[in-house]
């Protein structure tokens, strides 16, 4: 059951990414944290893909993760272009926060 280690590690990485996504004020760091969270999810998917009987891994989760990586790259690139545009327009790299925070 050594995949339990990887599942736990993937969940930990997901935790870090999720926390960073919501807690960090910088938009760039939020984007990076979202990427870290997707890395954690891929780790969980791949760790759960190993079947106990054969040593080969289930190919369907591997294909899902490949698809997920490409989509995450595309959307990260789009998010970064949006961030660059936001910095151009407003000069700040964080979203508006309320007074007194």
């Amino acid at each position: 059951m050594s995949e339990s280690v990887f599942i736990a590690a993937g969940a930990a990485v997901f935790l870090i990414g999720l926390y960073g996504l919501f807690a960090l004020p910088d938009l760039l760091r939020k984007i990076v944290a979202a990427n870290i969270a997707t890395g954690g999810v891929f780790l969980i998917l791949l760790a759960a893909a190993r079947t106990a009987e054969q040593q080969t891994a289930d190919p369907v989760p591997q294909a899902l993760v490949l698809t997920g990586i490409v989509i995450s790259v595309s959307l990260t690139a789009f998010a970064l272009s949006l961030l660059r545009r936001l910095v151009e327009l407003t000069g700040s790299d964080r979203l508006d926060e309320g007074e007194g925070e």
Binding site: A11, F22, L82
Partner: protein, 218 residues
């Protein structure tokens, strides 16, 4: 604000623990490995992951290529930056010597990865990424010429999606349905689709990194 972060940490921890618990303690399923191995011969390729990506779940891959293209279009739709810094061309004898050789090697690598997808790990996405990396290397070394023309560049970006859709519709003429490849020609169809996809994914990824200038209004 001082209370927010611990609460967020606890919530994130709870959700991660929930995911881990469900994955670890959930009912063990045998997985789809046996099903894939059983039908691998009818898929036209010899590698399980490639067969799933390009035959059994080809709809997912089609939509994924569409997402990639939409991201390029969306990034290109943003207005160009106001000021362009004049980029100093990189003058360095090591760059002069290394970059052309690395680019040639990268193109060879991309071709091998595309070809190897039929029998082992590899395929269109892997080859396309290496092609995009070669383009980024040229861009960073200031040796990237302008893309050959807006229409041609846009055609290259959308070639993968169009080929995928086109071959899927052609496969429907053989009676199975859209994206259902008859086993006799599945191997050739998949290779043709992967060729178009490799070029197109390389162009799309490069366009995403270089700011999608060539596809926009400039």
């Amino acid at each position: 604000m001082s209370l927010l972060r611990p609460v967020l940490a606890v919530l994130a921890g709870l959700s991660a623990a929930l995911i881990a618990a469900v994955t670890l303690r959930g009912p063990r399923h045998a997985g789809l490995d046996a099903a894939v191995t059983r039908t691998l011969e009818a898929s036209g390729v010899e590698h399980g992951v490639t067969a799933v990506l390009l035959n059994f779940r080809s709809l997912d891959t089609l939509l994924e290529v569409a997402v990639l293209l939409v991201a390029v279009v969306a990034a290109a739709a943003l207005p160009a930056t106001g000021e362009r810094r004049e980029r100093q061309p990189v003058e360095n004898p090591m760059v002069d010597w290394l970059v052309p050789r690395l680019v040639i090697f990268a193109v060879l690598m991309a071709a091998y990865l595309f070809w190897a997808g039929s029998t082992r790990s590899g395929g269109a996405f892997q080859g396309g990424t290496v092609l995009a990396a070669a383009g980024i290397l040229l861009l960073l070394a200031s040796r990237w010429r302008q893309p050959p023309g807006r229409l041609l560049w846009r055609a290259l970006l959308s070639l993968g999606l169009i080929a995928f859709l086109g071959f899927g519709l052609i496969a429907a003429l053989f009676g199975g349905g859209v994206l259902v490849y008859p086993p006799a020609m599945a191997g050739a169809l998949i290779l043709a689709i992967e060729l178009a996809l490799t070029l197109s994914i390389g162009a799309c990824l490069f366009a995403l990194v270089s700011g999608a200038r060539g596809a926009g209004d400039e």
